[in-house]
């Protein structure tokens, strides 16, 4: 498998009036095509910062990010940020509209995604009529609409209650696998990371450096909910729990 993304010695300094904060220090990582990687680490260690830099929303202080020109990045934020004056479909077409790429073909692709992932009856509804889980799915389809090769997700389910969270993460996982995307997901939830990712990057306290990278190998790997029952699950959970710096 070829590499989709190479990150070399990435560092990020934030400057404020009071202080200078080194948020990320010497972060290096290569992502293979089709990989699903989770990043876990203590609160405030710089996880969002890494994603923001990868998505081009923030500048890096040092280091190199090598991404093939052809490969597009999609970013799914923690909040769904749906526009309440646009219908579900219009919300999903936002990225295409901005990139002036709103072709019939692309629109059909979005409609297809909406139909496939349980939003068929809500295409022309406004977001305020949707449940939290549905909103998050709309947000994912909005990201997928521009056909990114790499999906960045920053705690995509943390606004959801536990039940919804489980079922939506199952859906999202299947969408990502079916559409053959690569993904980097930041999460606070160790169980979620183990159940979804092929690889887990554990970050240290700020400035975040890589503490450990763990390959997740589960017997009979299938959907996230089923993966939680795998016999290695507990082992990985303990392993990661011990590695993360806990403040309390």
């Amino acid at each position: 498998m070829n590499e989709l993304l190479k990150i070399k010695n990435l560092s990020k300094n934030y400057h404020t009036k009071q202080d200078e904060t080194l948020a990320v220090d010497n972060f290096s990582f290569d992502l293979k095509n089709g990989d699903f990687v989770a990043i876990v680490g203590p609160s405030g260690c710089g996880k969002s910062t890494i994603l923001n830099i990868l998505a081009g929303l923030d500048t890096k202080s040092k280091g190199d990010i090598i991404l093939n020109e052809k490969n597009k990045i999609g970013y799914m934020l923690q909040q769904d940020a749906l526009f309440n004056w646009k219908t579900v479909l219009e919300n999903c077409l936002l990225g295409l509209e901005i990139n002036k790429n709103l072709t019939k073909e692309n629109k059909d692709y979005v409609l297809d995604l909406l139909n496939t992932y349980g939003l068929k009856d809500f295409i022309n509804s406004y977001p305020n009529t949707l449940s939290g889980g549905m909103r998050q799915r709309v947000a994912l389809i909005r990201t997928l609409a521009t056909k990114p090769d790499l999906l960045l997700m920053d705690e995509p389910y943390s606004a959801l209650d536990y039940q919804t969270r489980l079922s939506v993460s199952d859906d999202v996982y299947q969408i990502i696998k079916k559409e053959k995307k690569s993904a980097i997901m930041v999460t606070h939830d160790i169980a979620e990371a183990i159940s979804m990712a092929d690889k887990i990057i554990i970050l240290s306290k700020r400035p975040s450096t890589i503490k450990k990278i763990i390959d997740i190998k589960l017997t009979d790997k299938s959907t996230p909910i089923k993966n939680r029952k795998a016999k290695e699950f507990g082992y990985y959970y303990d392993l990661i729990w011990k590695e993360i710096d806990h403040d309390v």
Binding site: G56, L57, Y75, Q79, A81, F83, W85, L94, I98
Partner: protein, 263 residues
């Protein structure tokens, strides 16, 4: 379709509403009757306090001389112009401020000063600078409505959820795309609620202006009445002004309902 309980609930609500309306009309009628009686029996000085019948007679005579509609039309026209100009100007300036945060920071204290200044104090200067005519009246109204619009609309712009701006940026949106696809539509309800404030502000400005300079309009009618000590005319003018204000406000409310389909 509805259950009996729900029907009863609806009926009750309807009845309550009707009762409120009825009481409101009743109060108005009682007020008019008492006013008339007090004036008829000279308990209050009818020359100073006028009376409903005298007001009615004044309206009839204004109607007969044909002046009434001219005065109303002039005031409405001036208000309309000021409202449109003030709103547009306010939105444009707020947009420029959003676009250029440096400029916004620079003019912020000046806006605060202008906003807290009682604009009527500028009247005498305006007459000299702009001339004693309709221009002064409109400039006066603009001063009042534009500044408040700038402040309200700009606040709406800056209240847009930063997450939504971040989202736009994840799609590599340009600044003008962020403005037209997010900021402006996202602030639409603020802007429309500004209309309500502005129509009142414009009318206040126009009447203030008419007090100062004009030869026509409802403000002039009131001013003229007070100068010749015709209190019937003053009170009639004020009542007409009330009615005009209510109608214009109602129109804006109607517009608001039409424009905000989904919120």
């Amino acid at each position: 379709m509805y259950s009996l309980e729900h029907k009863k609930y609806l009926q009750k609500a309807k009845k309550k509403n009707f009762l409120i309306k009825l009481t409101q009309i009743f109060i108005l009628i009682i007020f008019l009757i008492i006013w008339q009686l007090l004036s008829d029996y000279k308990i209050i000085n009818p020359f100073v306090f006028s009376s409903p019948t005298k007001v009615f007679e004044t309206i009839i005579s204004l109607h007969n001389s044909g002046d009434l509609y001219n005065h109303i039309l002039i005031t409405v026209w001036e208000t309309f112009i000021s409202f449109i100009l003030g709103t547009l100007l306010g939105i444009i300036i707020a947009s420029i401020m959003w676009w250029n945060k440096f400029l916004a920071k620079v003019i912020d204290p000046y806006l605060t000063i202008l906003n807290s200044l009682p604009k009527v104090a500028l009247g005498p200067i305006l007459i000299i600078w702009v001339g004693a005519g309709m221009q002064s009246i409109i400039v006066m109204a603009l001063l009042i409505s534009t500044i408040i619009t700038i402040i309200n609309v700009y606040q709406g712009f800056t209240n847009i959820d930063p997450i939504k701006i971040k989202l736009m940026k994840t799609f590599k949106a340009t600044k003008s795309q962020i403005y037209f696809k997010l900021i402006l539509p996202g602030t639409l309800s603020n802007i429309i609620s500004c209309f309500k404030v502005n129509i009142s502000m414009s009318l206040i400005g126009v009447i203030m202006g008419e007090f100062l300079v004009s030869k026509e309009g409802i403000g002039y009618l009131i001013m003229y009445g007070s100068q010749v000590f015709n209190l019937d005319l003053v009170i009639t003018g004020t009542i007409i002004l009330c009615i005009v204000a209510v109608i214009m406000y109602g129109l804006v409310l109607y517009l608001e309902k039409k424009l905000i389909v989904n919120k």
